[in-house]
């Protein structure tokens, strides 16, 4: 058994995943909630992006299982010696990718799929004569005897094999899904044939947008197959300055993006819900005080407030080195605290929305009736107000997510984001932006960050749009007031 290490953000991510599971279970049991989510499921763009997001979630969760692997006992150790663990903390994702190029370091830059290093080095010839040339890579294409002649055939072969394998896996998954759909349909109406279900899905008439799901699934599987087919012998997206595989860094960054996007919104919820609902419900003096608090908070420029808080945190970490045994733990705690800071400085927008909604709800008959029955304030807020503002909370959470992933890049560029040793899209961009001006240009670092970030944010945005459309029907009259949205947007645009 390896020695499992639970970092702060790991624990938070797992708790979050469990909470989402509980929520899904409750949705299944509640008629109305299921109906609303079915509306999300009907949108093809939302379902397609949900599949992509799910893949990202899997990567993020796999990367959150951290442990110190057990080292093989040294040959002269006594039989009852205690197990020795590696000092390096690795994640489950690393172990899964152990045999691929992703975990094999090179010396420095190398282009995608290349077998040669990007920079020249002095190499000793057989006779001892030194000459300068591009050396072969340690892993990428090392299996080729005559790279010039074999490279193209080898790359095509690996890509083709990977594609075939990926497509095969995708088809199996698709058929399994189809079987499940068919079984579910048989339970509701026993006279449907498999052909009917199939034609419904192909024509896109099914109640859930299965066509989009299956298509996305196939595409994702195909891409994964090609990527890992190639990664068995080459660095698919090249390596960076220190020789680390860029694809590996991009995969690692996904977890950081998830942590920032999800933990921050969770940190934001308690103050926003508490202050927003109490301001709207109690009105009067309480409302004045709470409005004053959040106006003060929004008056401070967001980036500067975060910068100030992060600087303070930095001072604290620097003056208490004994609290953090390893660099990984320090980086992790810094990420955790960054999320808390982002959350505690960013709750004002949601608070304002909830206050307005609570002001409206408190005048409704059922709340008045509850008050007339002598139910306590706390109970009214928790039992009657909270469930009726949850759609606003949900919409805000999903809308906020993509913005936070983008924001992290900006913060990391400013030097107030995640720890520089931690993989994230922001640090990737920050490290690679100067490489664009080199000649010949090093573009693959930036491209990797760009592609992965765009995929994640785009999927999150499309999914969020689907959720908003389903939960925010105009008939219910909830729209964030125009001015506050406009203000928030203009403020963000100005940074």
């Amino acid at each position: 058994m390896p020695n499992f290490v639970l970092l702060w953000t790991d624990a938070a991510l797992f708790i979050l995943a469990a909470l989402v599971g509980v929520y899904a279970w409750r949705v299944r049991r509640s008629e109305t909630a299921r109906a609303t989510w079915l509306r999300v499921a009907r949108s093809s763009s939302a379902m397609g992006s949900a599949v992509v997001l799910l893949c990202f979630v899997m990567v993020g969760l796999l990367d959150s299982v951290h442990f110190q692997p057990k080292l093989p006992p040294s040959p002269d150790a006594p039989a009852n010696a205690p197990a020795v663990y590696s000092p390096q903390v690795v994640s489950l994702l690393d172990t899964l990718l152990d045999d691929t190029a992703l975990l094999h370091k090179e010396k420095t830059f190398s282009a995608p799929l290349s077998w040669l290093q990007f920079t020249k080095e002095t190499i000793l010839q057989d006779g001892g004569e030194p000459y300068r040339d591009f050396p072969r890579l340690e892993f990428g294409g090392a299996h080729l005897d005559d790279p010039e002649a074999q490279w193209l055939a080898d790359v095509t072969f690996r890509a083709g094999l990977g594609a075939a394998f990926g497509l095969f896996a995708g088809l199996i998954l698709a058929f399994a899904l189809l079987g499940l759909i068919y079984r579910a349909r048989r339970q509701t109406s026993s006279d449907t044939s498999l052909g009917e279900v199939l034609s419904e899905i192909v024509k896109g008439h099914s109640e859930v947008a299965w066509r989009a799901v299956i298509l996305t699934l196939l595409i994702v599987c195909l891409l994964l197959g090609v990527t890992f087919g190639l990664a068995s012998g080459y660095h698919v997206l090249g390596t960076d300055r220190t020789g680390n595989d860029v694809l590996w860094q991009a995969l690692k960054s996904i977890r950081t993006a998830w942590v920032i996007g999800s933990l921050t919104t969770v940190a934001m919820l308690p103050p926003a819900i508490f202050f927003g609902l109490s301001a709207g419900y109690f009105k009067g003096r309480v409302d004045d005080v709470i409005q004053y608090i959040y106006t003060t908070l929004t008056a401070i420029p967001g980036v500067l407030l975060i910068a100030a808080a992060v600087l303070m945190m930095q001072v604290y970490i620097d003056t208490h080195p004994d609290l953090f045994p390893t660099a990984a733990q320090r980086a992790d705690l810094r990420l955790f605290l960054l999320c808390m800071i982002l959350g505690l400085t960013g709750w004002a927008g949601l608070c304002r929305l909830l206050r307005a909604e609570a002001l409206k709800l408190r005048e409704l008959e059922y709340v008045q009736a509850a008050r007339a029955f002598g139910i306590s304030h706390l109970r009214v807020i928790v039992k009657h107000l909270l469930p009726n503002v949850m759609h606003i909370v949900l919409i805000t959470v999903v809308l906020e997510f993509s913005g936070l992933v983008l924001y992290e890049a900006v913060l990391s560029y400013l030097g107030i984001g995640v720890d520089p040793t931690m993989n994230s899209f922001g640090t990737m961009i920050d490290k690679s932006r100067l490489e664009m001006s080199r000649d010949p240009m090093i573009w693959w670092n930036l491209l990797a960050a760009f592609v992965f970030m765009l995929t994640m944010v785009l999927a999150a945005n499309l999914f969020a749009d689907g959720v908003r459309d389903a939960f925010d029907p105009r008939s219910r009259g909830f729209r964030p007031t125009r001015r506050s949205r406009l203000l928030a947007m203009l403020k963000r645009g100005s940074t």
């Binding site: 004053y292 003060t296 929004t298 100030a308 560029y413």
Partner: protein
Amino acid sequence: MTSYILRRLMYGVLILIGVNLVTFVLFFAVNTPDDMARLAIGGQRVSTDAIEKWKVERGYDKPLFINNEVSGTQRLTDTIFYQRSVPLLAFDFGQSDGGRDIGWEIKNRMGPSLALALPSFALGLLASISFALLLVFFRTTRLDFWGVVLCVLLLSISGLFYIIAGQWLFAKVLRLVPYSGFVGGLDMVKFLALPVLVAIISRLGPEARFYRSLFLEEIGKDYVRTARSKGLSERVVLFKHVLRNSMLPILTGAVSALPLLFMGSLIAESFFGIPGLGSYTIDAINAQDFSIVRAMVFLGAALYIVGLILADISYTLVDPRVRFE
């Protein structure tokens, strides 16, 4: 109206005091000046004497709120809070931890900041509104659909990429503009063209999509149907009726964002090497100069409040239905 504005101003002052307190607590109570001194001196030169000297030079050697060593009003005035935070309320920013006058720097750097921020803001607003109008004019057609797709794509790309791609394309490949830098006078245009263009494009996605939904909301209203049934052309309906009415929230929003333009843009200024307030702030963050960050926080908060008041006033001016409470 005067009493209304006065009341809003009083509220603004109250918020400024709150901001002042928050920043003071953040900067001095969470971390003692000793910590800051250690950070500023850095490395092996840290010694008790050096820390004391650093603190005395910057006036950080006094107690935080109440000085028990002296008597009378000095008990309150001879403290860090009174000497470092209260002058901020009178916009006296004092000296940075590096020893330079912050007020002087702000005065000098506001120009370049505005030179970048004003054109980006105005042209960006214009571009977004025109694009949104175009989409609304061709609503429910392919053009509208792909336009919205383009908007979503544009808003899913980090602003940093626009800057990097812009510098690569226009400065490195096409060699139309310099990479970065700034000069005064007319040559400024050459240096500002690229940053302004990048700012416009990076704002186009979210804003055009938002304005489109604003226009679409307006277009479903009864008075628009009436205008159409009178036989007015689509062009007249769109520009004379829809645009005018939905410009109200857009313009008041713009008015409230105007004062914040003085703060400059952090990212663009540092990427393009424009010596404005944004890059000043970034330098301060990187040098961990707490005095400058504190001053900028205060300035930003003050400008935000000015923006809020301006928005309130302009709202009541352009829309006669809204009255002063």
